[in-house]
Structures are given as structure tokens and as C-alpha cells.
Amino acid sequence: MSTATTGRPTRPATQPPRRPGKRHRNTLRYGGNRLRYAGIVALFLAPSLVPLTLFTLVPMVSSLWVSLHDWNLITPMEFVGLANYRELLSDGDTWAAFGHTLGYIAGYLPLVYVLGLAAALALNTALRGRNVFRAAYFLPVVTSWVVVALLWRWLLSPANGLVNHLLGLVGIDGPGWWTDPAWAMPSVILASAWKDLGFVMIILLAGLQSVPGELYDAARVDGTSAWQRFRYVTLPLLSPSTFFVVVISLINGFQVFDQVYVMTGGGPAGATEVVVQQIYDLTFRYGRAGDASALSWLLFVVVLVVTIIQVRGQRRWVTYA
């Protein structure tokens, strides 16, 4: 790198104009002496690298370390190797927590996708005031989870909530919602789908807007029905956006916590005890920090594997135009 030694271009008046090109860029990047340059790199990186190291990388590593110990957060840690992982895997509560989480995902994902797709299709047409509608559908997305969960706890209150009141008007005796083990998870799913459907809608709208109109014209000339156009033109061309929604929703679904904590606290009778609720309870209720850390890594591995499988499997159903 011979240009590095020529020094960086300084005073423009005394410096002849340089020819643009590769040589010039290298001068820019390697200009000045190395120590000074290293100082500049450090100056730009340190403000993010130091806090990321302290508050993300160090906890990451220490979480792995804690997961190999028995620890109640007070007395000294005791090294137990992989015992925490073994115990968790043979513990019915762990499987129940993953089961509840999967149950949540199985209800939430199809519901939020279908509702979000319906909203996106409806608001992709030339409706008057569609921007107002989009804003309305999106408002719950920016609202905090705690607010939404409290609101739905109130709407679904068995005794005097609005939903059961309305059901009563048409002669239906509403269920016990979050007070009933059978209805608690559906309550959480309902609230979650209501909050997130605007998010799905925005992603799918972006996808719909990139579908070229000529394709529909061509399909019409071929005498297709509206359903056929949806099935064979819209859905395949929307598949990259759908893929994106599914990946993100699954990651968020496995990490579901705020709405569960506020709406049910994992109850009733443990019916909504999802994995993150379990991690929280293990740490702050039972003082089992080692188990909690091990469980959080199990969750991380599950999410990672599920995501990798999806990325690998996307060729089978995702069409990139």
C-alpha cells in the first residue's frame, strides 16, 4: 500500500488536484499515520462497543456460566455442569411451558395472519380515506403491551366486561375468559391478534404494492375468477412478505410475556404459563437463577433452530419475482 505513506491530502490550495479512482480512495482510508487512524476508529466505535460489551456480551456469556450452576441469587454458586439442562428436560413443567407457548403460537399466528391479510387486501383498493383506516388499524401496534393487556382484561372481564355484556344482549352466556383455564389462552391470543394485526397489514401492504398490475390484467384476459387471481397471482407474489411475517411472528411468539404477565400472570391453574413467564418465575419467585438461565438458553436454541429451518425451507414455497 504505497499510497498510505504519502500522507493524507491536506491544504487544498497547495495540493494539486488528484485524479479520482481507486488510488485516491485508498489514500482517504489509510491516510495519516496508523496510530492516529486507530484513534479515530476507536472514537467512532467505543460509544456503542463499550455499552454493548458491558450490557449485552458480558451478560450473554455470564448467562451461559450461570446456567451451569445451582444458584439462589444469595448464597455462593455451586457448579453442577449440565445438570440444570438435564433436569429441565426431564421436568414436566418445562414441557408444559413449551406446550403452552406452542398453543399460543398455533392460535395466534393463523389468526393474526388472516386478519392482517384481509385488512391489507381491503386497504390496497382505491377506498376513500384509506390512509385514515390504515392509521386506525395500526394504532394498537404503537400502544404498550401493558395497556393493551389491561384493556382486554377489562373487556373480557367475565362478570361485567363489555364482551360478555354484548354476548348477553344476543342471548349468549359468555365464557369465563381469563378466569377459566380453558379460555385463558384464547383470551391472550385474541388480545395479541388485535394488537398485532396492523403490523401484519403494513408488511403485507408493502408486498402487495410491489405486485405489478399488468399481471392481473393478463389474468383477467385469460378469464380467471377473482378467487383464482388471488390464489395464483396474489398469494405467490406475496409469499416473500408472508415469509417475513411468519419468521418475525414465530420469534415474537416464542418470546411472548408482557401480555401474559399482565392478563393472567401464567394462571389460572398454570394454563398460560409460557416459557418466558416460567423464566421470570424461576428467577424472581423461586430463586432458581441457574435453572432460569438454562431455560432461557433452551428457548434461544429452539427459536434459532425454528428460524434456520424456515430459512432453509423457504425455497419450497416462497417465490421471489
Binding site: 487544498p12 487512524y37 486507530a38 450461570v66 404498550s144 389491561l150
Partner: protein, 266 residues
């Protein structure tokens, strides 16, 4: 005819999305709501719930906490992320790509994995139940670095070169050329960062004990524990915490939606 059906469906949908917010307001001005279902138009509307709320907890303090924590963490993340973005896009140093991968890797680790060790770390540092602990995990954002690096890379390098010829150093180029030119990306990121701080719950729940240090979501959840059946009080708290974020959203709608559509973050 088909258009009429479509309009009806879209309006019905909007009602389902918006009415719960109206219900929050109605409940909050219906004294004694929770004993029975409130009327759509309360007989004797009143602000008792808001008074009870302000007596029960330092609510203005909690609101102010949420605001300044959100503003501070947004500003910090903007500056730290933009600087790192500049380093990754414009500076050439050994191990650059490897380091960028490390940044990306931290993105994949969820808060749930970090929460226990981070709590322990804060305890070691004697920072549990302080503003510093609340702010610490949101000083830097790997996501922000990722988002802004793209923006910096799109700034024509010829501008840097011209500035270098004029004698500007990297800091000068960053401040007076790159920063102004990536403003749209900065705005998008700022809105997302503000929203995520404003709504964050798990970390404040774990690290904060004193009511005077709580942020809104945490304050609201303890409020609910306190007034389990007095829904007018709980909804009054909800109304106060929805208003600021709703106003911000309506004012910055373009950036919010752009940011969400581009990043999948919410």
C-alpha cells in the same frame, strides 16, 4: 354494491380497532366502573378516577420518568449507532467484518436471555433500582447500527472525498456531511427507539422497585394490582399513557410505518 360491502367491512373493522380505546376513556370517566358495565354515555361523568390515580401513586413523576428515559435513550442510541455505522461504512480497519458480525449476533439474543445476568450485574454494580440501570441496556443498539450503516453506505463517497480535499477530518465529515444526509433514516430509527423504550416492560419490572423510579407500563401494572376491580382508575392510567405515544405516532406516522415495513420491528 361490492364497494358498499367493502366499505361496510372496513368501517366495521375500524370500529373493532378503535372502540376499545373509546371504551378506555368512557370507563375512566364513569365513577364506580367495574361494579357494573359502564353505559356508552355515562350518566354522571366525573374525573374522580383521575384524582384517585394521582393520590395513589406519583403519577406525574412516573410520566416524566417515561418521557425522559425514552428521550435520553433515543438520543444516546442515535449518536452511538450513527457513529458506529460511520465506522463500519467508511473506515477501514482490520477485523471490521468480524466485529460487524458480533454486533449482528447480539441482535439475535432476546432480552429474556439477558434479563437474569443483567439483573445480577446491576446488583454487583449497586445499580438496582436506579435510573442508570433503567438506561444501561439502551445506550447502544446493534439494530440501529445495522439500519444506519445502510444509510451511510448510500451517501456518495465523492462528498467525503471533496471534504477531505478541503481539509476535513472524519469527525467533521461525520457531523457536517453524513449526519444531515442520513436524516430520514435517523428519524425512522428515532421513532422506533422511542416507542420501544416507552413501551418496554420486562427490564423495568425486573430492575425497579421504588414507585418514584417507575416508568408508565410498570406503574400501570402495579396500579392494576392495587385497584383490581376499580377499572375506572386503571383505565384513567391507561388513557394518560396512551395519549403521548398516540400523538407521536400520528405526527410521525410516515416514519413509523416506513420503519416497521423496512425492519419488521415493533
Amino acid at each position: 354494491m361490492r364497494r358498499a360491502v367493502l366499505y361496510a367491512a372496513v368501517i366495521a373493522g375500524a370500529l373493532v380497532m378503535l372502540f376499545p380505546f373509546a371504551w378506555t376513556v368512557i370507563t375512566s370517566i364513569t365513577p364506580g366502573a367495574g361494579l357494573g358495565s359502564p353505559d356508552l354515555i355515562p350518566d354522571e361523568p366525573g374525573l374522580d378516577a383521575y384524582r384517585t390515580l394521582l393520590d395513589a401513586m406519583p403519577f406525574w413523576r412516573i410520566l416524566a420518568n417515561s418521557l425522559w428515559i425514552a428521550v435520553a435513550s433515543t438520543l444516546l442510541q442515535l449518536v452511538t449507532s450513527a457513529m458506529a455505522a460511520y465506522a463500519f461504512a467508511r473506515l477501514n480497519f482490520p477485523g471490521r467484518n468480524a466485529l460487524f458480525l458480533v454486533y449482528l449476533a447480539t441482535l439475535m439474543v432476546p432480552m429474556q436471555v439477558l434479563v437474569v445476568p443483567l439483573f445480577i450485574e446491576m446488583r454487583e454494580l449497586n445499580l438496582v433500582d436506579t435510573y442508570a440501570a433503567l438506561l444501561a441496556p439502551s445506550i447502544a443498539s446493534a439494530f440501529g447500527v445495522f439500519l444506519l450503516r445502510q444509510a451511510v453506505a448510500q451517501v456518495p463517497i465523492e462528498l467525503d472525498e471533496a471534504a477531505t480535499i478541503d481539509g476535513a477530518g472524519h469527525l467533521r465529515i461525520f457531523v457536517s456531511i453524513v449526519w444531515p444526509l442520513i436524516r430520514p433514516a435517523l428519524a425512522t430509527f428515532a421513532v422506533l427507539a422511542f416507542m420501544s423504550s416507552w413501551n418496554s416492560f420486562l427490564w423495568p419490572l425486573v430492575v425497579i422497585r421504588s414507585p418514584e423510579l417507575m416508568t408508565l407500563p410498570l406503574g400501570l401494572s402495579t396500579l392494576h394490582g392495587q385497584f383490581t376491580t376499580e377499572w375506572d382508575v386503571v383505565m384513567a392510567g391507561s388513557v394518560i399513557s396512551i395519549v403521548p405515544i398516540a400523538v407521536l405516532y400520528l405526527a410521525a406516522q410516515k416514519y413509523v410505518i416506513q420503519g416497521v415495513a423496512r425492519s419488521g420491528l415493533k
